[in-house]
């Protein structure tokens, strides 16, 4: 019978062997590049599949760490002044889905401009302040504590914007879009069948236009929020918890055009909120 001490040795040896075998596979191709940049660099990342994480720091330097396992993809970086480009190239037409994967960890100055294009995987951006564009097929986009003008175009990827500031345009087909605690004064979302959730303050003078073909549009407002509301649907339904007064700005409501509609003012009507759905459900809920 093996003592506790004796069985530990082969187990630990096996574990060490596993680590040695696994380690090269996990980072079969790893590259790390450092780029000195000036103020507000522009970083463009183009990928096919994988995880893209962008974080910020206060140094005037961009660091790109790329990992991929396959010999059928290649990572290419380029600097032209304040512009950095990161591209994943496919080296073969015969490539398995798993071989497409390339993952990036990118660290950028806080004030940077980003352009990210990928088909699938995940994009996570944290604490970057600058204009940004995202173009995906099914890759999910997560924006956390970012600020600037953001444009997101996705076919089936979801979009999560947590504690974001500035303005955003989102266009999706089936991807869901969520805003949590936003501080944004201009939000435009259009999706064919995705759900839209806006859980945050409507800023004074803000404009919020949320539209889908079907699916759920839900906004959660605070008692102190002040906005003009227009909610319309051709074949859907509207559920409302807001105490609405007739529009104090004298706007005429084209309610005859819609099967169900709701127009009016909450408090002084500082912000403008337009919710429209062809056949989905619109919920205007009071935040707890």
């Amino acid at each position: 019978m093996m003592t506790q001490r004796t069985w530990r040795v082969p187990v630990m040896t096996a574990a060490a062997a596993l680590v040695l075998v696994a380690a090269p596979a996990a980072s079969a191709h790893r590259m790390e590049k450092h780029f000195a940049v000036g103020e507000r660099p522009v970083i463009t990342i183009s990928n096919h599949h994988g995880r893209i994480e962008v974080k910020s720091w206060k140094k005037p330097e961009v660091v790109v760490v790329g990992n991929h396992n396959s010999n059928k993809v290649e990572v290419d970086t380029e600097q032209a002044g304040n512009r950095i480009e990161v591209n994943t190239h496919l080296l073969s037409e015969n490539i398995a889905p798993a071989e497409l994967e390339a993952n990036y960890e990118v660290t950028v100055p806080e004030e940077s401009e980003l352009h990210v294009k990928t088909d699938s995987g995940e994009i996570t951006i944290e604490r970057v302040f600058g204009d940004m564009t995202f173009d995906t097929v099914v890759a999910d986009v997560q924006l956390q504590e970012v600020a600037g003008y953001m444009v997101v175009k996705t076919i089936g990827g979801s979009v999560l914007c947590a504690r974001c500031a500035g303005r955003i345009d989102v266009r999706s087909f089936s991807g869901n879009v969520r805003f949590l605690q936003p501080q944004m004064d201009n939000v435009r979302v259009e999706t064919t069948s995705g759900n839209i959730l806006f859980d945050g303050d409507f800023l004074r003078r803000g404009i919020y236009i949320l539209k889908n073909g079907n699916g759920l549009i839900e906004v959660r407002f605070a008692d102190t929020d002040s906005f003009d509301l227009s909610a319309t649907t051709v074949n859907g339904t509207i559920e409302n918890q807001a105490r609405i007064k007739p529009d104090v700005h004298g706007r005429h409501s084209p309610s005859a055009r819609f099967k169900t509609s709701l127009f009016g003012t909450v408090n002084e009507g500082h912000a403008k909120v337009e919710l429209s759905s062809f056949s989905g459900t619109i919920r205007i809920l009071k935040r707890d």
Partner: protein, 215 residues
């Protein structure tokens, strides 16, 4: 000759191809497809009735999209007097040209589905949907087939999503059309239908863009 050199030649608009370009087209399947698409679009464009005038909001929307994509930089409204599609044909720089043409076709399809009597008098009894011309529908189907056949299968999740979302938009278009057939005066449904066709154009353009850039 390389593909990008051919694209530069095609930028110049409809004209007979130089010999080396023709040789390239015959040897390169992708360029052959692009060239065939452009020729077919040109043919359809010539069949457009001269009096077609897009409603202002459609024109503004199309122009904004073309500007956003960097396809045009100068106001194109000046070209309206000579025919809006012809004007575009002359001023568009080449990148993603197929997408722009596609948007034009889609907008054209919508316009042609609205009789002029409705444009002039929305309360007209003739307020009914008209089918788009067969040539236009055929061309749109060709573009759609081309976009679908260009989908790269090496990422099945992406390929499935592209197909599923195209089906989704088609379903939405059918739903809007059904509403409009049931209530031809439903302007809200008509606006959603405009939007749905624009969505389809956007989606096909994204698919074609990915086909072109997939390396």
């Amino acid at each position: 000759m390389q593909c990008h050199e051919l694209e530069q030649i095609l930028e110049q608009g409809p004209a007979p191809l130089p010999a080396d370009a023709a040789t390239h087209v015959s040897a390169c399947a992708r360029c052959r497809g692009l060239f065939a698409d452009l020729k077919a679009i040109e043919t359809v464009a010539r069949e457009f009735p001269g009096e077609v005038a897009p409603p202002e909001h459609i024109w503004v929307s199309l122009r904004a999209q073309l500007e956003e994509e960097g396809l045009i930089h100068a106001p194109v409204a000046a070209g309206r007097g000579v025919g809006w599609l012809s004007a575009l044909f002359g001023v568009l720089p080449r990148p993603a040209l197929a997408a722009a043409y596609l948007a034009c076709l889609v907008v054209g399809a919508i316009l042609l589905s609205v009789p002029s009597s409705i444009r002039e008098n929305p309360a007209s009894q003739a307020n009914q949907m008209q089918p788009a011309p067969a040539a236009l529908t055929a061309q749109l189907n060709t573009v759609e087939s081309s976009a679908l056949s260009g989908i790269h299968e090496h990422n099945p999740v992406v390929a499935a999503s592209l197909r599923d979302n195209l089906a989704l938009v088609d379903k939405f278009i059918a739903l809007c059309e059904k509403n409009l057939r049931e209530d031809p005066r439903n302007e809200a449904a008509r606006e959603y239908l405009y939007g749905a066709y624009q969505q389809k154009a956007d989606l096909l353009a994204m698919m074609m863009d990915r086909d072109a850039s997939g390396d």
